[in-house]
Symmetry: C2
């Protein structure tokens, strides 16, 4: 099928870019001597994750039990559920383990740890449940402080109750707010050092800690060395996006995900091209709004994937996008240059959010659609 | 089932509020003496639309052919596809008509009108295809100017080529940016007057124009009188949301859609409650950011649906929400007040965007879940 035959809007994955992004991260991880466990929350697509594993990744990271379930059904067994476990999710998580999934869990409070140990003791699974403790390395979200008494309390509780304490997990999400290589190296080192510090404290207390798992796309690509780290996780690198380009860890030409759209009208005097991809197709993510260069709802390319210099998706309604020049000029030839029925491609602010708006990806090699890859959503 | 048994995150529709919102709009339309054609892009849910029709609505409005297809399969026949038709969508639209769907189409350019008439002539359907011309009444999106020659050119072309020119359609989307009752009345009158002007010009030119269709939730609820208007459309009123509350056309207590979430942790010193609804469950919509009161990712309620004064979802990652006080204070009892495993409900910025993140709605009456209502997505 030719790309032009796809109904629009449609999410496209450009094969060459996908392959390059996967190879780049894996070779970086190989150089650093760490295990790489990609986060599949970005794609939620079995075909994409298979390519990550084929390149050398070992195991996957998920953000929901639905992801764990779907990937387990597709043959993936080594899965880290990297969100602190709600008590109500203990039973379905243990059920996945009972069915053979090597699911690892994460907690960052005594309440969650107790909910887990209580059910694991009451309704035992064949092997001790492997658990990581989430460590807060940058104050951006959850996790216990690496120097806290709570870290050791949780570790002791899990260990003494017979669970398999595996170690610590950290995610320096604030790396998304950095702008320079030096800042990125600093936050990568901060993520590493604090996770390693937490691991050291567990070991000094006589507790097992074989795993030190860290990562985010910006820190994974910026770390100079990773002594003490055993595993790195990253997700969005597989597609990259305009936010990552704004952070400086990729270029616009690395972005593998785009939204194919059809021109449906014009407002000639305003210089607007109306297209059939609105925020439903792009997502409401305006992640570049807080960056030095605001890319609107996305940068606009021709059907061949080449950027159209100066054009972005300036605004979006649910099923209407407004493409215009960044400088607000109204080119007189806009109806001729972008005729009704012609197609454009839009690079997204945030690949995780844009992907989530679509039920499948068209996997494309230049103008040829090689396959439709299903992706799933929900919880 | 009790609401507390639902897996989280989950989208809830509060029955009493849904019924009140539907009745309020329908009685307003009845008073104004116009036909009401609700926009089902907000709910994409057959059960919700059935209630709108049962209250007196006649026909529905859709934003995608997928919506037309899904609602037609569910027994809805009178459907207005209110987005200017892309040439590639003419064939599937005509196919729907051939199968018995009374689908009405919209164009706002000669290119779209020609694409439609060419295919309709080449591959005729049993009855002339009914078409509305989109009129631009506030410069916010598509449509032809009500005083333009283009309006008459499109009308003549459609009429002379044997299509059923039905009239004009307008949507004053800029009503979302208004803040005072006077501003809202003004934009409502502007929407009405310009649509009626366009209709008058078509009729003066000897062209048929039985339908004058206008509407948005803010203008529909603010119009004083609607002389010359035959039909009003509105969508988000069915659930309402924080953006509509900020515009001033509903109160927080009218918002029928909320997201149920479970507390998964705390950052006590920062006063943060971490919950399992992140932006994937809330959407990335930050529509109140541009309003005088920024509601973050949503206002927080207890499980009973009552607002917790001063708390909002301050930030969101993909599967983590951070609930905190608006004033930044860190209450010392946050772990006791919001224990791990307890549930909260979050009112969304934008119901259309939040609903779209979910595969179904739990239709609730107080603490009781009466049914799970499927909703669909995609194109």
């Amino acid at each position: 099928m030719h790309i032009d035959e796809l109904a629009t809007p449609a999410a496209l994955i450009e094969d060459a870019r996908l392959a390059r992004n996967i190879a780049r991260m894996q070779s970086r991880m190989d150089e650093l001597g760490v295990r790489f466990r990609p986060h599949v929350k970005t794609s939620k697509c079995v075909e994409v994750a298979r390519r990550q594993l084929a390149a050398g990744a070992r195991g996957i990271t998920v953000s929901t039990l639905k992801e764990a379930e779907q990937f387990f059904q597709a043959g993936f067994e080594d899965i880290l559920y990297a969100v602190s476990l709600a008590p109500q999710k203990v039973a379905p998580a243990l059920d996945l383990r009972r069915r053979g999934c090597e699911l690892q869990l994460v907690v960052d409070s005594m309440a969650a740890a107790r909910a887990l140990t209580e059910l694991a003791l009451k309704d035992p699974v064949p092997e001790p449940v492997p658990v990581l403790i989430e460590v807060d390395v940058d104050g951006h979200r959850g996790g216990v402080a690496p120097g806290s008494a709570l870290l050791l309390d949780i570790g002791r509780h899990l260990h003494e109750q017979g669970l398999a304490l595996r170690g610590v997990m950290a995610h320096a999400g604030s790396s998304y707010d950095q702008r320079t290589p030096t800042q990125l190296q600093d936050i990568a080192e901060q993520e590493r050092a604090q996770a390693v510090q937490a691991a050291g404290r567990l070991r000094e207390a006589g507790l097992p800690c074989p795993v030190v798992s860290i990562g985010s796309t910006p820190t994974a690509l910026s770390a100079g060395q990773l002594p003490g780290v055993t595993e790195v996780r990253a997700g969005v690198y597989v597609f990259f996006d305009l936010v990552m380009a704004g952070v400086g860890v990729c270029s616009d030409e690395d972005i593998a995900l785009s939204v194919l759209t059809t021109v449906i009208g014009h407002q000639v005097e305003r210089g607007w091209v109306l297209v059939d991809a609105g925020w439903m197709a792009m997502s409401r993510d305006r992640g570049t709004q807080a960056q030095p260069v605001d890319q609107g709802y996305g940068l606009v390319c021709g059907l061949d994937g080449r950027l159209l210099d100066g054009f972005l998706m300036h605004a979006a309604n649910q099923e209407h996008g407004i493409v215009a020049r960044r400088d607000g000029q109204a080119p007189i030839d806009i109806e001729q240059r972008f005729p009704v029925g012609s197609k454009l491609r839009v690079l997204p602010n945030h690949a995780c959010a844009t992907g989530a708006q679509h039920a499948d990806y068209a996997w494309v090699d230049g103008p040829e659609v090689r396959a439709l890859w299903p992706r799933f959503g929900g919880w």
